[in-house]
Amino acid sequence: MILIVDMNYRKDSLAFSEFVLPIIAVVSIFQESTVKHYLEVDEKDLANYDRIILSGTALKDNETLRKVENFGWIRECEKPILGICAGMQTIGLVFGCRLKQSVGIGMTQIRTVRENPLFSLTFRVYELHNFTLDPCEAFDVLAESENGIEAVKHKEKLMYGVLFHPEVRNREIIERFILM
């Protein structure tokens, strides 16, 4: 069972269908999933899930970045996690990384800089973000573009972040995370 965390500005928002439904569509091919809004995630329930995916949000939605205290459970979590866009930014903040202004809208070319099980080589991605992570102690950088860090992995945990939206282009990245 996969837990998909809805990172949008409120539960059952207008943005849910844009940022969460496409992830459900990919996950449902392989496994059952449960969706919880980020304010509803209970640390005690995490044992029920094999993996966790944190969704992205609308470009103007930075709520989770202002409410990072709601994500303390990520620090202790030993389950594989994939953070998409706002999900990656939030994971970074939880581990003390800083965000750097970096606007990315639309298709961008990125290059893999570290071998990993999710992607390889150079490829084009769909982006929608205002920030990226500054390099920081807790994470290895997996991919970069001209604008900075595009994907990371926690140095000790199976915790990945991608700044781009694999549910729009490159769905196989979500598939590989599920099957990893």
Binding site: D12, L14, E18, P22, L59, D61, I105, L128
Partner: protein, 226 residues
Amino acid sequence: MKLAVLFSGGKDSTLAVHKAVEKETVSCLISIVSMNKSSLMFHTPNIDLTGLQAEALELPLIRRLTEGKPEEELEDLKKAIGEAAETFGIEGVVTGAIESVYQAERIQRICHEKDLWCINPLWKRNQQDLLEEILQKNFQVIISGVFAYPMDESWLGKTLDKGLVERLLRLGREYGISPSGEGGEIETTVLDAPLFRRRIDVLEARVEMEKTSGTYVIKKTGLADK
């Protein structure tokens, strides 16, 4: 949140209006009337009907003409969105985009520049599911344009029903046509939907067909009580 919906009068933008009304406040509609019939950004058949559709929806409409030159047409859209922000104090824009990264990227950039939200409630939805949702919600939708082989004039003016959806899905399988018309294969016009206070009756229309491109040109309409 006060929102404007980019409204072409077709099935997708009308469904986007319905989705937006369920969750937020729709303050106005925005229609771009493009003189370029091949515009990659804007729907063109029967775009003049958006005035009547907005009246039926009882929502204010901001309409702006564009010559439809690529990229320049975006300036016209930007002005229309700016007008919506000034007149109605909108905080965001909703679109009916499903698959087109080309459209989505450009509208996202305009909204970013204007410091507005951009929300696409139909984004990446399964096209069969969307067509079925439109039928389930009792939208009255006609085919107002066909632009791909093997579609011909027999499609024009036809009402979208279960049989027509099945034909579109079959063409999708056999010819690679997007059943929802995301590649511009078909255009639609909505004559009635749950949020329409009155329905639109087509009183006069003609078919214009050239090779594999055809338009159902609505000449005369009326609003009728439901």
